[in-house]
């Protein structure tokens, strides 16, 4: 096998080498994309250690399944999909029902968020990046895992409604409702409006 300069090689070359069991190439891929995979896990789980553990598990699974990667998407997207599926499995096991039932009731009743007036201030202009991230983190924590998942899949994974519905095994209408609800809830948090759950 020809020597590869891992740090300067692009992902395609590294993936091809890793598929031939070149651990050095795979280590470089981990180094390049570990933050993104972790960020995705953290968005889903809202718990740092869980996100680290699930990221690690995702990388091990990625190694096992590497030969199945055909290049239909970018390698980082392929990895984030693996970690999202692991997070979804974990969330189902954890059964965070009490939070979901409140959210579900709120959604069924029409939701305060559906009726509240639009937030006119642009948070990206008003808030500094650090504070913005904190507010978004807070907002994401207040969502049920189903609402959070829809948001993550749409905003970060850039999946369309149909793809999200398939991934979450629900209707497109449900995806749209959940997305709308999640966005409006976040808007309220970003605008620092106090809402009672």
């Amino acid at each position: 096998m020809a020597e590869i300069n891992y740090s300067s090689a692009d992902d395609t070359v590294l993936v091809r080498a890793a598929q031939k069991e070149d651990m050095g190439a795979f280590e470089e891929l981990v180094a390049r994309h570990r933050d993104k995979v972790f960020a995705r896990a953290l968005s889903m789980m809202r718990h740092e250690q869980e996100a680290i553990d699930l990221s690690q598990e995702a990388w091990v699974k990625g190694w096992q399944r590497l030969k199945q990667f055909q290049g239909d998407s970018s390698f980082s997207t392929w990895m984030t999909r693996i970690v999202i599926n692991l997070c979804l499995d974990q969330l189902r096991k954890q059964k965070r029902r009490h939070m979901e039932s409140i959210e579900a009731m709120s959604e069924e009743s029409g939701g305060v968020e559906r009726q509240m007036p639009a937030v006119t201030v642009n948070p990206t202009e008003r808030l500094e990046r650090g504070e913005l991230r904190q507010r978004i983190d807070r907002g994401l924590e207040r969502l049920s895992h189903e609402h959070r998942t829809v948001l993550v899949l749409h905003e970060f994974e850039e999946m369309d409604y149909k793809g999200i519905a398939k991934a979450m095994d629900c209707s497109i209408g449900t995806v749209m409702s959940r997305l709308f609800y999640a966005r409006r809830k976040l808007a309220a948090v970003l605008a620092d409006l106090k809402r009672e759950m």
Partner: protein
């Protein structure tokens, strides 16, 4: 705004609204202040969310994180490639040759056995030791008759009721 209009407005923002409904929503956003404000809010929120992941860092050093992954990979059992599944007809075809051979052997054996079996008909044979003795076999009836000469052959000639052995 109705709930339906709100969701359509969101779909329009996400590029998911069918073309025939797009004009209606654009018109709504243009003429209705509430729709315009909601459209702006959804757009701003979307931008804010997308920017939030930009600076997230895994809080473990590269070497440490990699060492954990490497250890787990080394623990993995070698993957055994599963044999491709064989169709029913392929399985049947594979069995056909030995089954045919076995059938031929059975048939040949049966024929040989049949040839070894005595003919199921009446048969007479002469006992060689005594030329006067006369043996009669009836295999179908499962019967053998033996005529033995009595000392007085004349008696035999006159009283020829055979002794039957079955």
């Amino acid at each position: 705004m109705t709930e339906e209009q709100q969701l359509k407005l969101q779909a329009f923002l996400d590029g998911e609204l069918p073309e025939d409904e797009t004009r209606e929503i654009i018109s709504l956003i243009t003429r209705d202040e509430e729709a315009k404000a909601l459209h702006a809010e959804l757009k701003n929120t979307r931008r804010a969310i997308k920017s939030s992941e930009a600076n997230v860092r895994l809080p473990e050093p590269r070497e440490f994180f990699w060492s954990k992954i490497e250890r787990e990979i080394q623990k993995l059992e070698p993957v055994v490639e599963s044999k491709p599944s064989v169709s029913f007809f392929d399985q049947l075809r594979r069995l056909l040759v030995p089954m045919s051979a076995a059938a031929v052997v059975v048939i040949a054996g049966f024929i040989a056995y049949q040839q070894m079996l005595p003919v199921h008909s009446t048969e007479t044979e002469m006992a060689m030791a005594d030329s006067s003795a006369f043996t009669y076999h009836d295999y179908s009836a499962g019967m053998t008759l033996v005529w033995l000469p009595f000392p007085a052959e004349n008696d035999l000639a006159q009283n020829s009721a055979p002794a039957t052995i079955q």
